[in-house]
Symmetry: D4
Subunit: 203 residues, 8 copies
């Protein structure tokens, strides 16, 4: 059905043995594969069997690339702070292995809005923009106001106290005064990229 | 800036007089215009001055069409139940006046999943799908599982008790087990259509 | 009073020693017994004294079967995803030791609704259906729409972010647009099976 | 499909005209019909056209009985206080028109537990028990502890302050220390009866 | 104690007669007085007795100015949208009658950030800035990032759905990634101005 | 001021060294002392210096009794389940060291209401009743209905899922349909006993 | 059972006719009676039949005094602000008709703590203190710190925004840093007085 | 831009290596630097490279003082209980390194209000007051009522049960009946001091 589309494994709630087995099976196909929420230990266990596996430590993703990547269109992944980078990187790796051309623009949160404004060219060149932001998540609204293209907001659980593990950012993005921001679950970099990819590939 | 793009007026929180004045001003431009959250009284007041105004009673929208509509691409607006239709219609009218070709498929909620399954052809033909659903909002997940195109979920405040004015549906859509559903605010048919339009018009 | 009915021990909040003692006492009766929420260590401690004890690792249940099981009627336990299996298995073991005939149908979540639709025969054959689902819990609504028999929904804490440890699924099931789904507490496989058993045994 | 089964109309969110039309259409069939959440005005409008319509003022239900009622099995509807009676009566009318034999036991809340204890005979005679209770909803737990048959708890929005429109009762019932209480949405007398009916009719 | 300081009356929860009487008593002193949350009817009733009373319709404030106003320092009141103006105006009137020099900058929300950036001169000239914003409340973070002076955020209840009557904006401001934003209660324009005044008057 | 009244130390958030020092100082006075939330390690450290210290393992309290206890009046501490005993015991130890005569009645939750009913004599003999209950906390309502004396409800965090760490029980007790139940914080056995003591000692 | 104890009627959710009938029946006994949550219309309807009925407009209570009141002990009812007076008065009337001697001390909130401190004599003379306070409810903690007698906190729904209809005050009182404050439901002046009465009458 | 202003590093979410590197870089400038949320291990690691680093164990701050501190104006940091001291100390260290003269007044919570009242001189001498309080956070209201200067409330996560990790205190401060208390995020001593500093330095 979804030819050429990578298989995706969510490591959370699976044992190391289960994950190694699944990855080995996927290695036998000719397709690319992605595993998310994989910690260092899982990486080591998989690497033992599949030395070609690539690990993105920040994203906590395993990538098994077995065919060329299409690098179509252009998705821009933005993060507000350095602590949001893990979620942004999960989005980056997901978008990349799904065959998209992906750019990154990190640490451009609204506390220092000039950094974002100086990088408007990157905003203009993207077809779809993913915004990963915790705390108050204001960056999604600001980006949504600057561009007229689809914006996917992914609230992160970064923050403490009244951030309520990402709820403040989630509500911020859902109530964005900039029309047309689509929101996914807290810390769901994968889901943001999946949606962005289906948009980016439209003809 | 956004040439050919309709001006949008949110009637909530404005007086009849203010709305009539704004609409008259917009009538002087050559552009199309949309007003949302307009009740019957507002409609009558505007109609007095602008007899050509069109009112969608369910959607509570006023449409002032002054140029031809492009009817590009294809957006499908789905509703779970009859009570979700007002939100679905707000999305329909917004998408239409923004120049999109829009189809509707109403009353296909998961309590009788066969109705949805029988209409899979419409799902296949759309470029973007908007799902308006209240109560538990399960329809967004089911639709997201059936298609590989962008799905915009708009939770509605339909329900009572533990639906908490749309929160149950909102959470349902954010936690959709089908990857890649983008969610907008409760009852925000306008926002869903705005995002869908920006996606539908991609080339 | 409740003759032939198994004694049930909730291990959470008890020490290993307490559990071993209780199980030994129960072993002296002629009745069957069930212990829930028992981790590996508890299993080992009990096994030392009662080698005939059976452990279901996924369900985290200990079963002490001392009389024949009735295998009456027919309860079907459905799970949405693999991560919901522990809760489903707790329901399975509880229903089984209470003397019911129990079937299982796992991994039929709505992201791939075809799997469920292909197994409608099993749905038709059951007298009562238990649905264990986390994330948005949409499976309970879909199953409730497909059958006209009692459905017991047990939301699971599977998910992250805005799933709020099972709340999203709980609200989804309580607001099910399919009439007549009875809901129990999050992760309460035991309670779901207890209720299902009292229904299944009606004459 | 569901032969002999009454059609159910939810009046909430429908206009008087729509409801009258639907009821007239249903009157043309040979089947029984039920309308819930019907206020006095709706009743008067329907009565004009269908003088045979029966109105239960407390339940806010319209019943159009066109065939004999089966009066099968035995469902007992219990209410904690007088304010819970509307929800209990919605359950009563729904269960009755669905062909069940239904008994009522009202005002037996736990503040005066003796009233409940004095009526244990009625509890013993029922096949299924529905408990409608607001405030803290403790009645469901007490009833669940007294009987070994299916108990359906329907929390009501009766109360104020920290009852949060039924949430306190809902949580109380979900956390019932008596195993096997199935819960439906706040104020959902209809849903409780629907589930109770499917249980009561088991053979 | 607080010499020259205006008396403040909160009309909410008081009868027209009570308010008229209080205002008449205050008129007999030589001091200025402010009444907040006063609707049109209250204004008319007070005006009958005290024709010199000034009513700010948006702010819903009555001002009884009996001594010259000091117009000290400089407070800037910013609003995100037009719907936030009532709260902003309550802050404006409060700050003014407390003897501050007050400027206003309205409708500079982040959906169109250029309007704010074009008015940075006003930001630079103020000693204290009050930001009134509903929906996601992102404006407080952006302003907090642009200036190094005290910023008082007052979330407004503007919005719908997941704005939860101002909670989304409140959380947004509390989690501001710009350090040093002090927050007051939802819609509390009075409290924001009171705090701003105590800051503005520091020497 | 509060002569003869024991000093109370809350161990949570203090180091072992700090606690030992405080207890040594208290040992030098002629007064009794109580320390709550003391784990095994703290006990061992204190015991080293003060061998006469008494540890209640369930209650996690340290008692330093240096004067005779008055054993006035009569407080009855009731628990719903075995998991509620730690909170009940904290109440027991606090009440005892404060000079009250204290009785205990454990494991009389409403799932088996007969146990409570069989012990009504104890209820009748007490001057004040403390009820410690988790899950749905229904026991407080039932006890409140059986007696006409002050009842102090202390919700416990016992439960899982929708018990939300004691919130379900807290709401249950606050909404008790039995008039006159006073409620303290979740797991606050100390506070319940403190209040009960001030009541019990009234003349 | 509860001889000499007044019958109490909760008017909320009853029709005028029902209330009049109940009051007439109670008038036929020799006992005192109290009706709470009675608006002006209910008062007028009851007065027509029972001219001797006394109405407390603030408390919204009807009192039917048919025997002498005992005026035992001493309960002090304190309110933080004027808006809390209705709840305080409901407590006052309830305590009075239950045969207690009751004093009132209103408008002594912590924003002007001197008023409370100047009235410490009244605090010292009471046997039990009821504190009615909305907004942040801090008064209960301050009073609890000043006296060593039972304090009953009744949070009121006074406030707006983040007071969440009394939740802020409720949480404040439950977390009081002064040990031994018993809390009742939001706006439950009746319940506070009922508990205070059972305490005040202890011998 | 912000000359002489210390650089601030938030250690949470950074590795030891990253922090050491950042601190070394900052040591090369002539400026002062502050690191917050630094545990003992981080301290040891930094100290190895920068022996002159100062660690405040309670505050969990690292201070690198390289220029003289201005000690301007006067900020008073108040804490309610001993458990609130870590947050108060974070505020203290932040305010100090930002060049303010800072005083401390700890353990003056409202359970023993006399301690606060005896120290009113310190309140009078400060230009700005920071109040760190957990549990019900009533101290902010009491202080706000005693002084006419800016008060910054910082709720702490101290407490248990219904304190909900600081939410009770947060709500208490937001609803303060004393006008003009500005609130920052739970446990955000840094943010409170940052705001207080910008106020204290006004001329
Ligand atoms: N139904 C709606 N829901 C949310 N936002 C809307 C809606 N209708 C219009 N808007 C937004 O509100 C803006 C107009 O606001 P206003 O200038 O106050 O009339 C539009 O440009 C839209 O971005
Ligand atoms: N009181 C009620 N609460 C919840 N659901 C109801 C109620 N009454 C009817 N329904 C459901 O609503 C359906 C009818 O909806 P409708 O077709 O919109 O009238 C029925 O088949 C029931 O499943
Ligand atoms: N378990 C407890 N829960 C709540 N408060 C307590 C508890 N134990 C002691 N306290 C209170 O904490 C005070 C002692 O706190 P501290 O001085 O920090 O040890 C006592 O006077 C009591 O008021
Ligand atoms: N304890 C704290 N709480 C909140 N924000 C802080 C805290 N400490 C530092 N910050 C902020 O975080 C910024 C540094 O973040 P980073 O660049 O990630 O180290 C500082 O400029 C402050 O604005
Ligand atoms: Mg945009
Ligand atoms: Mg899909
Ligand atoms: Mg069904
Ligand atoms: Mg039972
Ligand atoms: Mg700033
Ligand atoms: Mg009682
Ligand atoms: Mg006290
Ligand atoms: Mg003040």
């Amino acid at each position: 059905l979804r030819r050429g589309f990578p298989e995706v494994v969510l490591c959370e709630g699976k044992t190391e043995e289960q994950i190694v087995k699944i990855m080995q099976k996927l290695a036998e196909t000719e397709e690319n594969a992605l595993a998310t929420r994989a910690d260092e230990d899982i990486y080591q266990a998989v690497k033992e069997e599949l030395p070609e596996i690539e690990y993105n430590e920040a994203a906590k993703t395993l990538v098994l690339q077995q065919t060329d990547l299409a690098e179509e269109g252009s998705i821009l992944v933005i993060s507000a702070g350095t602590s949001d980078i893990p979620v942004a990187e999960e989005a980056y790796e997901t978008a990349r292995i799904m065959g998209n051309s992906v750019e990154r623009l990190y640490d451009v949160g609204v506390a220092g809005i000039h950094r974002l404004l100086e990088n408007q060219k990157q905003l203009r060149q993207a077809r779809v923009v993913i915004v990963a932001a915790g705390m108050e998540g204001a960056l999604a609204s600001v980006v949504g106001g600057l561009v007229d293209k689809p914006v996917i907001g992914v609230p992160t659980s970064v923050g403490y106290g009244a951030s309520f593990e990402g709820v403040a950012s989630l509500l911020g993005m859902l109530n964005s005064c900039s029309a047309g921001v689509g929101v996914v679950n807290i810390d769901n970099g994968f889901g943001a990229a999946y949606l962005a990819s289906s948009i980016n590939k439209m003809e």
